[in-house]
Symmetry: C2
Subunit: 578 residues, 2 copies
């Protein structure tokens, strides 16, 4: 029963579901539904798909996540960054507007769902850790800039293409002569209104005496107001005939049953982008879920989240959607609106299903420029270049990782950008640990403590080199230690013994073991003893399974003080006998 509940968290919260929870969830669902309608249409536009795909992608996935997910407040559906990634990936295998394009988007959702599910079943959630925070921050910021720029064409009413900043900008410049001025006025007005509403609508409403909660809801409904106003304007003044591009006919139907493509070519072309989308979507979703869970002292299970998101994406693949994940904006709205359980998500899905059947004729005259305006205003809040300043002040390595991610994402596209960011941060980490801090230590007089000879006044013995290694030993720093010891012993001709103090060594991998064996053999050739001290239990267990301890040209001491007493005293006896 426990294991069943682990895989179906719904069994957990479903038991205690009561009337008050129901009413809270219902209120939240209404608010989120209203917010999601224009957002879903807009993100579909960003992904290069017909508008209904955005709504379909918000229905089945929400319900599936409600069954399998562990977060109580997460709202799953299309989000900006994943929509951009979808456009970039699908654009490489199909022409926008064709049937193949929609099928490729379904296939991407299918692969992404399958990959997330597999990761969840094999409990591989840790893979997401390889995306460092600076890389994620740099990637989100650069994506925000890319998305906002890519929407300029809808504001200007021109056609433009491209997946990198230079491509998009030069494509827009090349088509500047085609600008549709009516579209531009609509787009600019909508953008200006949305920016204003975001910042000033709530204080203005409050001044006018609106109760705080209502003011809040009305502010969040800003995009809906822009949608209604511009749609009515286009309809009233017949602006569509003056070249304003509109959403047009949207089928009035529940999400259809669809099949992703299973041709090997398509699957292999989309596999890498699907993995990328899965991991980025997962990271975004888990951060949001964890933040919201903490506010109510709940917790989420990252591995079960993989299963929840995997199910959601599989749902999207078979119901006319495209890749989805837990979105920041919609989840916060859901949480603030008082959603208590995933049932709120299910009610949102019902609301959207009703909208898909009943309300789609109303968006016929909705101009694309308005949708572009809602995207621009939403994504510009993701752009945060302060991460460059923050990391510069904190650590140059992290700054490098951010800068590389931002520049390569803007200049070479989202996939190369994020892949390079990951590579750079891993290489920088390996570089840092490849030159560990090795301190030569001496005895603090009158104590049994040993400290760095360069920082403290300590007793030393010219025949004895005592080195404390402040890092686990593994392949990236194994050779460093070899070089370090070789340099140290060739610099002192009196040296008879070397002691490695292992108090900070948590691991010795096979490369480091072989390096220690090589050091041992070279020291034997030089007639110098090699000793270890303060080796941790698990490290010692492993070393004993190798030949190192048997072949060691010296001893293993429990404490460094023992080592000093033995090796230094022994030599004094020798000297005394001379």
């Amino acid at each position: 029963m426990l294991s069943l509940r682990q895989y179906f968290p719904i069994l957990d919260w479903g038991r205690n579901y009561d009337r008050s929870t129901l009413s809270n969830d219902l209120i939240a669902a209404v608010i989120v539904t209203i917010m999601l309608i224009p957002q879903s249409l807009a993100y579909a536009l960003l992904a290069g798909l017909p508008p209904e795909a955005g709504i379909y992608a918000s229905i089945a996935p929400i319900i599936l996540y409600a069954i399998f997910g562990t977060s109580r407040a997460l709202a799953v559906g299309p989000v900006a960054v994943v929509s951009l990634l979808t456009a970039s990936a699908v654009g490489q295998v199909a022409e926008q507007g064709t049937a193949g394009y929609a099928v490729a988007a379904l296939t991407l959702a299918f692969l992404s769902g399958a990959f997330l599910l597999l990761m969840g079943v094999f409990r591989l959630g840790f893979l997401a850790n390889f995306l460092s925070h600076p890389v994620i921050a740099g990637f989100i910021t650069a994506s925000g800039i890319l998305i906002a720029t890519s929407q300029l064409k809808h504001i200007l009413g021109v056609t433009a293409h491209g997946h990198t900043l230079p491509e998009i900008l030069s494509s827009i410049f090349a088509h500047l002569d085609e600008v549709n001025w009516v579209t531009l006025v609509i787009g600019m007005t909508a953008t200006a209104f949305l920016f204003w509403a975001r910042k000033y609508l709530k204080p203005t409403l409050r001044k006018l005496g609106t109760p705080p909660q209502l003011a809040d809801i009305l502010t969040k409904a800003g995009p809906v107001a822009a949608v209604v106003a511009t749609t009515v304007a286009v309809w009233l003044f017949g602006l569509a005939e003056r070249g304003v591009k509109i959403v047009g006919e949207v089928p009035q139907s529940l999400p259809p049953l669809t099949l992703p493509g299973f041709s090997p070519d398509l699957l292999s072309a989309l596999l890498v982008p699907a993995i990328l989308i899965s991991i980025i979507g997962f990271v975004e979703s888990v951060s949001v879920a964890q933040t919201l869970a903490a506010k109510r002292r709940q917790r989420i299970d990252p591995d079960q989240e993989l299963i929840g998101l995997g199910a959601a994406n599989l749902g999207a693949a078979f119901t006319g959607g495209y890749p989805v994940t837990g979105g920041f904006a919609r989840s916060v709205v859901n949480f603030d609106a008082g959603a208590e359980t995933p049932a709120a998500g299910a009610f949102t899905a019902i609301g959207l299903a009703i909208a898909a059947v009943a309300l789609t004729p109303l968006v016929y005259y909705l101009p694309n420029a308005t949708l572009a305006a809602t995207i621009i205003v939403a994504v510009l809040s993701l752009v945060d270049l302060s991460i460059l300043r923050k990391t510069w002040g904190y650590s140059r390595a992290d700054f490098l990782a951010v800068a590389a991610t931002v520049l390569l994402t803007l200049g070479m596209g989202v996939e190369i950008g994020v892949a390079s960011g990951v590579a750079v941060s891993i290489l920088l980490h390996l570089y840092k640990t490849s030159r560990p801090h090795v301190a030569e230590v001496g005895l603090v007089p009158e104590t049994q403590h040993f400290r760095n000879i360069h920082r403290h006044k300590v007793e030393t013995d010219p025949t004895l080199v005592m080195l404390r290694v402040d890092e686990s030993l593994y392949f990236a720093n194994a050779r460093f230690l070899e070089d370090f010891i070789q340099r140290r012993v060739t610099n002192g001709s009196d040296i008879k013994n070397v002691i490695l103090v292992f108090s900070a060594v948590n691991e010795v991998d096979y490369s480091a073991l072989e390096s220690l064996e090589a050091i041992n053999e070279r020291l034997i050739d030089m007639g110098i003893g090699l000793h270890l001290s303060e080796v941790k239990g698990p490290v010692m267990d492993r070393l004993e399974r190798s030949h190192l301890i048997a072949k060691l040209n010296g001893q293993v001491f429990l404490s460094q003080y023992d080592a000093w007493r033995n090796l230094s005293a022994l030599l004094r006896v020798d000297k005394a006998a001379e």
Copy 2:
């Protein structure tokens, strides 16, 4: 002056060069020269190049290394693994036997030389550390198997192609009907003789009363004997007319002046293989050099080695050669023969130059099968599958890295094999450190020490969670810590304070900083304090540059005992007041 000597180690040993050193160097040179003639021809065959390329690649590179290299005994020239890598890389851009093939090999040497030189100038030798020992061992073993298999076609006298084990084997099987029986007899006899000589020639000669040193030299000259005997046999019995493939005409000349290709297509096609060859060659060379240097208590400078090997490869590129590195076999022979300075290498070069001018007509009738036999016998000594058993016993992660490298090298070719090996070992390292050991600690009664509550009888306080993190905090384990703390605090409802003991944390990167900030904010939401103790100096310096310390919902304590006294005592006062 010091810096000039740093870049020209020749200035160092050249000053003390005297007559006894000269005679030792000369003797070593004669021995190495004799050994190198058949070896150079054979490796050129392995690389798919005309035989003279192997000799040319042994002349200029040796001299250049003598000027710039830091090892006293390293012998630079063509080696088996690099020859195989050359064949694999060049085979992708040109047809064997064409002029383009030779030019591509020169270009590969040029790129490799330039890359090594750049790495040396920017002191990037540490990059070689990312090849872990298990990956190198697995790669060398798999390469040995591939090389030996690829030479079977010369022993059988058939044509066959392929760069992976299945390709080579199936190609040989497909041509089995073309076997040339005379070639097979020569090849088998030579192989059997060489295996026998390697193992039994020295003891046999010693039994016959040969002085030990002479026996040693005669044994090393085994391949020369095989070469002479089979060449004479082919000439005497006119076996070339019976289909035995022979070396044929080799130009009688000093190394020619050649130019690598500089077309952008060629350069970009060969760039990645060149980097791979450089790094693998560098790792092989440095291991050999370091082992030999240690025997005489000398040391080598890895960054200067890059410059020496870079110069050697540039030399090869402009004198009709192909990529070279410091070889194990030839270096050990050179060292054993008593070479004292790099001048021995220069004398070897002179010997080979004489051979190139005067002796090449003598190898006209040398059968390729004999050269293949010398390669097979040489490389099979590289094959050491015991690394699989050794790593299995020591660490499963290292075993996985070896197994992946061996299987992928055999099955997918050398480049994918070594690249996957590197990727696997880096991922496994990140995986291991992504789940650091976190111990919940308590106070050992009557002391100021804290130990793991699961292993020792310690005092604890239900309102206080004390966690000791046994690993530096960075992006790969930042989220782990978040999850760990979240899980811990949602499990105990009395918890008022969390203390993180940082005694083993050597670094906190920006990702981990943000995780700590997130943990802090979540704990604030739960009304729980977050405290740090025993933070190391450099870590504290960095944390103080961030907002974490200012926003911390608690204090930073110098010692964990202070933290305990403050936080636990405080609560006792509260309780006393109740």
